[in-house]
Point group: C2
């Protein structure tokens, strides 16, 4: 299906809900865009100042400095803002009531960032933001003086701002506040009461977030949570993700002899745990990539035609992705890329047994280990899938142990394995037909003249999922930053055009 056809399909789908004559929304967006052009120095300047405060979750002192600055930034926009203490790093909270509004949107972002290893960066300090004319790996040069003046765009869309958290996740915070500034400057108010919750330890797993609900439930109540985090669809079109897959990681170990034995002296006689692990793993999946573990897909309902249409409308460039990854063909089990993301996975993320390469020795190893992960969808429970996997291993003749097998187990059981699962993060998924979520999609289509990219679910897992689950009201993700932002790595960066477009996106949501 070509993307032209896709757009037609989605337009037909949307026709029922998108009001005719959405031109005013587009005009409003154009006004916001013009305001942004005029205010680029202030917007980028505010972001650079915020990025200059180190924000690794373990750095309590600087985390406090960030929280204080953010509270002040919210206060300047008229929020009732406060720092909410948790068992660990503080949350920053703000509330801005809109005249006559009958609903509330809770915006979530996080102000902490991944740890840094400065020596790996192409700049002296990851917390000393650097502006470049493009991507570093494509020759982007340092911008020393920003050309132009108040009457024309001084900052180029393709310029990149390099700093820790430039994209993940401080720019959405600045984008939200700039959108509020734009509305105010244009004489508009949000159509919903706005609440903002800023997490100070998302990159450390947000340990304080769910416990904080008990303490601050009233403040966190809303009709919709909009999570401003993550990269936009690679087409750079406004994007809504209605959910994310969950995850449970596992370690599968097949035990061999107590210690490695000589592969000549004992080869063909002492069983090889690496061979057995291979056989066990092979039994779990067919060649198409479909999981063979009994009942693995049982709870996943087939897609409705509406859901299928949403999947089909995503403008994925599969050929380009495959080229990028150097893969000739995808796994055929589920058809399209989006279809593949709707299903739970069973993935081998690592293998180890003795050594390969220069360190390899001619032995029958003592054990073979597969690190695995299962990506969960909303209908699947981690406990259920892990138990099914355990049953599969048992059905293949294995005695399952916890930890190391003792001598008695070794003397009794011909095949011994262990399967340890870590704590799971569940999936979450909001229906694209949820009225609050629909308002956002409609607003974005109105503002941009085309439907947003709608992702029924992200393939990955977001740490905020347990928070969403615990709050119990609908949540969607609205990512704004460039997909090639080097998130979590050295040389994290923001494409400025994505911040500017993000302000337009958030403005539309505020007016939804």
């Amino acid at each position: 299906m070509t993307s032209r056809v896709l757009i037609v399909v989605v337009s037909v789908l949307m026709a029922a809900v998108v009001p005719a004559g959405a031109q005013p929304d587009r005009d409003f967006r154009a006004s916001v865009a013009a305001w942004v052009v005029q205010n680029q120095p202030e917007i980028v300047g505010e972001l650079m100042e915020l990025l200059s405060i180190p924000n690794v979750a373990a750095d309590r002192e600087n985390i406090r400095r960030n929280a204080g600055r953010l509270r002040e930034m919210l206060g300047r926009r008229g929020f009732e803002a406060e720092v909410l203490e948790t068992e660990t790093n503080p949350l920053v909270y703000g509330e801005l009531r809109a005249p006559g509004a009958t609903r509330t949107i809770l915006f979530y972002s996080h102000y902490d960032g991944q740890p840094v290893e400065p020596s790996a960066w192409e700049q002296p300090d990851p917390f000393g933001p650097v502006l470049r004319t493009g991507r570093l790996d494509r020759g982007g040069a340092l911008v020393r003086d920003v050309p132009g003046g108040r009457d024309r765009p001084a900052y180029q869309d393709d310029w990149r701002l390099y700093a820790r958290s430039a994209s993940d996740d401080k720019s959405p915070i600045v984008g939200l506040l700039a959108a509020l500034d734009a509305l105010k400057a244009l004489g508009q108010a949000p159509t919903a009461n706005i609440r903002v919750i800023l997490d100070g330890e998302e990159e450390a797993g947000s340990p304080g977030l769910v416990p904080a609900i008990g303490k601050y439930r009233d403040k966190l109540r809303a009709d919709l949570m909009v999570i401003l985090d993550g990269p936009i669809h690679s087409s750079n079109r406004p994007t809504i993700a209605y959910g994310a897959r969950g995850i449970v990681t596992l370690t599968l170990t097949v035990f061999g002899p107590k210690a490695g034995v000589h592969s000549g002296n004992y080869g063909n006689w002492i069983p090889n745990p690496a061979q057995r692990l291979a056989s066990l793993l092979a039994s779990m999946k067919d060649d198409s990539g479909r999981v063979l573990v009994k009942g693995f897909y049982d709870s996943v309902a087939p897609l409705s035609s509406e859901e299928q249409a949403i999947l089909d409308a995503v403008p994925d460039d599969a050929a380009r992705m495959l080229r990028t990854f150097g893969v000739a063909a995808p796994e055929p089990a589920f058809g399209s890329f989006q279809a593949a993301l709707q299903m739970p996975t069973l993935n081998i993320r690592g293998l180890a047994s003795a050594h390969v390469g220069a360190g390899a020795r001619t032995i029958i190893p003592d054990r073979a280990v597969a690190a695995m992960d299962i990506r969960l969808v909303k209908e699947t429970s981690a406990a259920d899938l892990v138990e099914k996997l355990r049953a599969h291993v048992r059905d293949r003749g294995y005695h399952l142990v916890s930890g190391e097998p003792d001598d008695e187990a070794r003397a009794t059981h011909g095949r011994i394995a262990s399967l340890e699962a870590a704590a799971a993060t569940n999936a979450f998924r909001t229906s694209p037909l949820d009225p609050q979520a629909r308002r956002v999609a409609v607003a974005l289509e109105g503002a941009f003249g085309a439907p947003p990219v709608q992702l029924r679910t992200l393939g990955g897992t977001v740490p905020i999922a347990p928070f969403v689950e615990a709050l119990g009201f609908p949540a969607i993700l609205v990512p704004i930053v460039n997909f090639d932002n080097n998130q979590h790595e050295e040389n994290e960066n923001l494409r400025l055009g994505n911040l500017f477009q993000g302000i337009e996106i958030i403005s539309a949501i505020l007016r939804s």
Copy 2:
């Protein structure tokens, strides 16, 4: 089959060739044993002095010191002894003609040892031999003063001498020279001309050994080579091994995306190379341990009933071995332990793909690697088996590359792998019915009153195999040192009783 039954079977087998009334051989052995008791201090002393000269192959200066000392030790026994230069470390050679002898035995040992990491040893210096009352890991205490005098055994059989090369392979050299001393003291001469070749770089792969044949062929000619190396059968009974398996090592790599990709973002869509490697490896062997690669066993002929009887007579204690290794049951493919060693193997000696444990990341790895080895038997060629394995991989839909796949290969082929084989060492095997080999077996049965343990082939590979192959006359291995000698590792040791028994074994061979 109990070991009592085994002995009967072997006795029946031997009856045709063992002369009746072998009592004189047993009496002679008793005389040798008595001589050994009287001369323990000199024997152990000579070994300790030899062990005090460091002998890592790369340590050229000390290797020269070893060679000089050995030449002198041979000369003292009447050998025409010389140091033979090779392209690398020198060989030590000696010839001792026996009056009236019409045949020649070439004894092979090596005087170099494995590299040492002194900090891992329980003694200050691996080249400072230490005598203990037993195994270190069973509380063996330091022997400071050897009790007793000339009229009773001063050294206990269960004492252990700890030093690099105590067992591998200096003690067989000292054992051979002591056996010659014993013969002389007892007024006997060897029944064959004796040639000795001492290798100075066996632990470094003996690079100079085969090339030396061209230069010194006349000196190396013999009717039988007796290789004094390796551990005796775990029953501690005199042992002959008629051959050893060969080896070729391989690296099988299945390629995935160019770099690891996020297992959530792309799981179910980008093929996982670890899963594919598991499936490929699983396809190579059935659950019994039998290789499924087409034609893998084609060239291996079934055993004759005589060969089967030799295998059945080996007093392996399978239950004890399994207990030691902590394995409940062996692979069932070939039946007994000895039967398993007669067949080529296909072994996974290592697996690697991304990371397991604390370093594991939720990715689809870029590749998965299996380090493998094939143990060869005399009938199999490495090139043939590797080609069959390559055909197997191709039959499973893989495009085979050398090195890394390029972009074109990645764009064209859905499945890409590489299979690299290292240089092979062939198997060697002398027939137990070879007349020269038979003489040794008969002599050992005569001296010890029971047939030796006869191993049709060792499961492992010996570096001397190419030398045996190039010389072209029969060769057997006669190991004398304890099987639990910690060969190649820290705390290498010799059980003194094995050296003393070894002198009796070698004396019997000299009189065969």
